[in-house]
């Protein structure tokens, strides 16, 4: 998308110039928004209009601007973004531009540059080659050129998905009273279409995925090549491994649903053994783990990032217990991701929502409506919430996408 603000003045209403200009914009397949129109009061008074034009790409915009120029329409040249060179590592300059997760452009040396990796709550750094990236506060280095103020920064409002999409029949952002089978079929179709277009899917999983018995279905999705990246915490990975090594999740038999004797220590014993192997991959290699989500990820080379927390047991050797390092590892894994499934996870879903560009189509599935609402409240407005049992959701999704188990 390309955006420009243009201005036209004179007797543009009585001469039908404004009507012609607006017609030409639409005829070029572009769209416009009248920013302000100052209409002359008398026959002699001139009028003035400022129009924001949105075209599909820069090429269409350039051709349209050339055509409009003939009719007296000129681009309003705004100011360049202001920048300050930082003098302290890990500290943004005072008045730094705080980002959204929406597509953003910044004007540098008269040229509009698109921000390469939209992410909310970051600063914007001008790269030596003139490119623009978001930068989390802690990554700022001395000498970074950081955007300050709002001049020369444009944020593109989210585009409503057109055509057949789950969003189309969903009127509310959060749904607890919608036909789930239909909804899941629509999500499956979106996932299928995204993969056909070369997109990649990120799954963010909470431990409830294992507790509800949906582990094997996630494993099926990994095996089927549907999941390309996994974000989780120590709990999810631990219970997945526990369920495959000992058949329990938090000591409860997944087959019989009953607590096993001494089961409260099962997950600790598994963590301990994985630590003995040195990593999940090493445990898989050694034949200690023979199935499950983590096993499939290792076997298929699907990358995973396990972020730690203060209450973790163990943790597993693969868990990044420095949360800032964990968030950086998640960021580094994101390029190419087009769809995100956030499954019964509060902390990891919000952490992921924080770093995802708004352009990533995201679904948050949780039995608790508050999780979905919380995500949206933290700025991830692109997320479609589905309030349902995660086990049910994943089984049906895997049935839609994978060959029968």
């Amino acid at each position: 998308m390309a955006k420009e603000i243009v201005q036209v003045e004179g007797h543009i209403i009585d001469s039908l110039i404004l009507a012609k200009v607006l017609d030409l914009i639409l005829a070029a397949g572009a769209d416009y928004q009248m920013l302000d129109v100052d209409i002359g009061r008398t026959n002699v008074d001139a009028s003035k209009a400022r129009i924001e034009i949105e075209a599909v790409d820069a090429e269409v915009m350039t051709a349209l601007l050339e055509e409009l120029h003939v009719h007296g329409v000129n681009r309003v040249d705004g100011a360049d973004a202001q920048t300050v060179v930082t003098d302290r590592a890990g500290v943004l300059p005072v008045g730094f531009y705080s980002t959204t997760n929406l597509p953003t452009s910044v004007r540098v040396d008269g040229q509009w540059q698109e921000v390469q990796n939209p992410e909310m709550d970051c600063g914007l750094v001008v790269l030596p080659d003139g490119g623009l990236r978001t930068i989390p506060m802690h990554r700022v280095s001395v000498g970074d050129r950081i955007v300050v103020g709002r001049d020369g920064v444009r944020v593109q409002t989210p585009e409503r998905p057109r055509g057949t999409s789950p969003f189309e029949f969903m009127n509310s952002d959060v749904s607890s009273e919608k036909p789930k089978t239909l909804l899941i079929a629509q999500v499956a179709e979106r996932v299928r279409r995204s993969r056909a277009d070369g997109g990649k899917l990120l799954a963010v999983c909470g431990p409830a995925v294992i507790h509800t018995g949906a582990g094997p279905d996630i494993a099926r999705l990994v095996r089927g090549g549907w999941i390309n990246l996994l974000f989780a915490g120590n709990g999810f990975a631990t219970h997945d491994l526990e369920s495959n090594v000992l058949g329990t999740s938090l000591g409860v038999s997944l087959q019989e649903g009953s607590p096993t004797e001494g089961g409260h220590a099962n997950h600790l014993r598994v963590i301990n053994e994985i630590r003995r192997h040195g990593s999940i991959a090493a445990a898989v290699e050694a034949g200690y783990v023979t199935g499950g989500v983590m096993y499939e990820c290792v076997q298929r080379g699907v990358p995973f990032v396990l972020g730690g927390s203060v209450r973790d047991d163990g943790p597993l050797p693969d868990v990044l217990s420095d949360v800032v390092a964990a968030a950086d590892a998640m960021r580094a894994a994101l390029p190419g991701i087009t769809t995100a499934l956030m499954l019964a996870s509060t902390l990891h879903a919000i952490a992921t929502g924080n770093i995802l560009p708004a352009s990533v189509e995201s679904y948050c599935v949780d039995i608790n409506q508050a999780v979905v609402t919380k995500l949206a409240d933290r700025g991830s407005h692109q997320v479609l919430g589905i309030v349902t049992d995660v086990g049910l959701f994943i089984r049906q999704l895997a049935d839609q996408l994978c060959e029968p188990a």
């Binding site: 004179g10 007797h11 543009i12 001469s15 012609k20 009719h71 007296g72």
Partner: protein
């Protein structure tokens, strides 16, 4: 109907150095040269016709190297004692402006330049009709100049896009006759311009394409007399029915350069706004 409030005093320039020396419109071919004697004879004929119709004609000196100085309509915009010099699109004509400005300055006019660098080719692209100034753009004048022109003169401008390169100036497509009537060549205007025409001119005389390309609209109106380069019978009948006297004044040598009767004259008794 009320006669035009202007059109009884003109500035003209004799064709002493006139010729088709370059090609800046589809009518000009340097291989088809103008006959100097014939041109002078036609120009004298036009002066005589205007004077016979009751108009005063003032004459400025011809200058070498600017053959189109003869087309005074493009010198600029006259508004009472104000003169806004043209800013020509083609370098071949830009040399004329210094002579035009010198003439108006010497006569005591206030000379106000258009700001910026937008082109506007004077009365050739701007003719008063009723309470507004109709101004053409695209081929020679830039639309963006119209707002400046309005600011400088106080005129309410109505902009018309000229879409046929052969009818490159407004005065090849539009000729105000009185307060309600005008000759218009639809061939030269886009659909927005024609819509504007409906709102602006209660009784237009619409030229066929052939009539337009014969420069019918490039005529000079002095009260109820119309001095025309040529007048096809259909056009003549309509004009006579409206009570106009028609004087055909051959200007064939000037048509070789893409100019007719109107192009050779600049009305000096125009007050805008």
């Amino acid at each position: 109907m009320t006669e035009l409030a202007w059109g009884r005093r003109y500035l003209m320039c004799p064709p002493k150095f006139f010729g088709v020396l370059y090609e800046i419109n589809p009518w000009m071919h340097t291989s088809v040269s103008a006959d100097p004697d014939e041109a002078r004879e036609q120009w004298d004929g036009l002066v005589a016709a205007l004077r016979a119709a009751g108009a005063a004609v003032e004459v400025m000196d011809a200058e070498p190297d600017v053959p189109d100085l003869v087309f005074t309509a493009n010198a600029g915009i006259v508004n009472g004692r104000q003169f806004v010099p043209a800013r020509f699109r083609h370098p071949q004509r830009q040399g004329e402006t210094v002579y035009d400005v010198a003439w108006f300055a010497a006569k005591g006019y206030t000379v106000d330049d258009l700001p910026g660098d937008a082109h506007h080719e004077g009365a050739g692209d701007a003719l008063p009709f009723g309470s507004v100034l109709v101004s053409g753009y695209r081929t020679r004048s830039d639309a963006v100049s119209h707002a400046d022109l309005s600011r400088l003169t106080g005129a309410a401008v109505r902009s018309v896009e000229l879409v046929d390169e052969r009818l490159y100036h407004l005065d090849l497509t539009f000729c105000p006759l009185d307060d309600r009537r005008a000759i218009v060549a639809p061939l030269g205007w886009d659909r927005y311009g024609l819509k504007l025409l409906e709102l602006l001119v209660p009784q237009p005389l619409l030229l066929t394409d052939d009539e337009a390309l014969a420069f019918c609209a490039n005529s000079v109106v002095i009260g109820t007399t119309i001095v025309m380069p040529t007048c096809p019978p259909r056009v003549g009948r309509q004009l006579e029915a409206w009570g106009f006297d028609i004087v055909e004044c051959p200007v064939g040598e000037f048509l070789k350069a893409g100019g007719g009767c109107r192009c050779l004259t600049l009305a000096l008794d125009v007050t805008l706004g």
